[in-house]
Symmetry: C2
Subunit: 206 residues, 2 copies
């Protein structure tokens, strides 16, 4: 299982944003939606081995975390407006949510009231990585077998407190090349690297 945790420092945790101006009204939720597409969708549908947590730290309902599970989610479309509509409805359906972990509101979509601590309790024995410009190149690094979790920043990267929290969890820094890229491109590159390794491992076994 591969898990991406995308931290939206200003992304709206409530449904009061406009589909007609996502960047301006949702605290750049659009950045997180593009990560969601890159992590879960490929040409032939949904990746059943991928899961995404969107950490929403903006607006009056913040913090909240939306979990999207590739194995059980249905009808996920790739365009931003469709994804934004789905997230908006899910956030609205949980207007009264209070603590207690994730509540599934639609197939494969669950919401929790809280911040990264809601994610941590679900990760189990996974290996933790944090994607950072300039860090050790993922292509040259050994990755732990089993479950892997990748923390991804938004358009502004990570704030200092989050950086310290991830360091305290011993999340290992990884990079994807010489330039600082959009978050969704980073997710696409990591997904491709994992696809390649799974393919090589599969070939070696067969």
């Amino acid at each position: 299982m591969r898990t991406f945790v995308v931290i939206g420092q200003t992304a709206s945790a409530s449904e009061d944003f406009s589909l007609d101006d996502l960047p301006g009204s949702s605290g750049r939720l659009d950045v997180l939606l593009r990560c969601l597409r890159a992590a879960l969708l490929f040409s032939h549908g949904l990746r059943p081995d991928a899961r995404v947590y969107l950490v929403l730290r903006g607006g009056p309902q913040a913090p909240r975390v939306l979990k999207v599970d590739g194995a059980t989610c249905k009808f996920l479309r790739p365009d931003e407006r469709s994804l934004a509509t789905l997230v908006k409805k899910t956030l609205a359906a949980a207007a009264q949510a209070r603590g207690g972990g994730f509540v599934e509101l639609r197939p494969g979509l669950a919401l929790a009231a809280g911040d990264l601590e809601c994610v941590h309790v679900e990760l189990g024995e996974a290996a933790l990585y944090v994607l950072e410009p300039g860090a050790a190149d993922i292509r040259t690094q050994d990755l732990a077998p089993g479950n892997q979790v990748f923390f991804v920043g938004d358009h502004a990267g990570f704030d200092e407190a989050t950086r310290a929290e991830l360091a305290a969890l011993s999340a290992r820094p990884l990079g994807v090349g010489p330039l600082s890229l959009h978050s969704d491109d980073v997710v696409a590159l990591v997904s491709n690297e994992l696809d390649r390794r799974a393919d090589t491992a599969g070939s070696a076994r067969s």
Copy 2:
């Protein structure tokens, strides 16, 4: 210079699509817009060494080709609705365009009435590649120095006539890994491979 030519078999060549339903009303122009973002934008702005041609083969004004130049384009935003708005305005501004090659309608945005032949006359001595699932892995292939052009299909890949046309141009097939991916992810992966090679070449020179 890196050039991506994205061929939209049904993507609208006229402005009569709805920003509120891009996938349903624009012949999947949304797929091409996501490729545009992946090719031209990174964390710190526009890539000055990248250029994109969107081949629009859908609707009453088809075929038309929209060229977007990273060196001269301004204010390109990453979200789909902003990109769609820009394309819509550009297509509307050229309602009367007839033959004669590309006409620049906004800084860095030019439109031509025609199909791939409008692109070919601009490519010069570039090396041509066509991105195809299952083709030789770009990571292991030598790429010609100088200008490189990558032809990319839409959500439905390439039609047979286009495939034959690209083969006649001796465009070399390249792949990006074991899975068939969304077109914008393919563009992101090729861009990253080129970034890495440019970085290595730069280090070797210095």
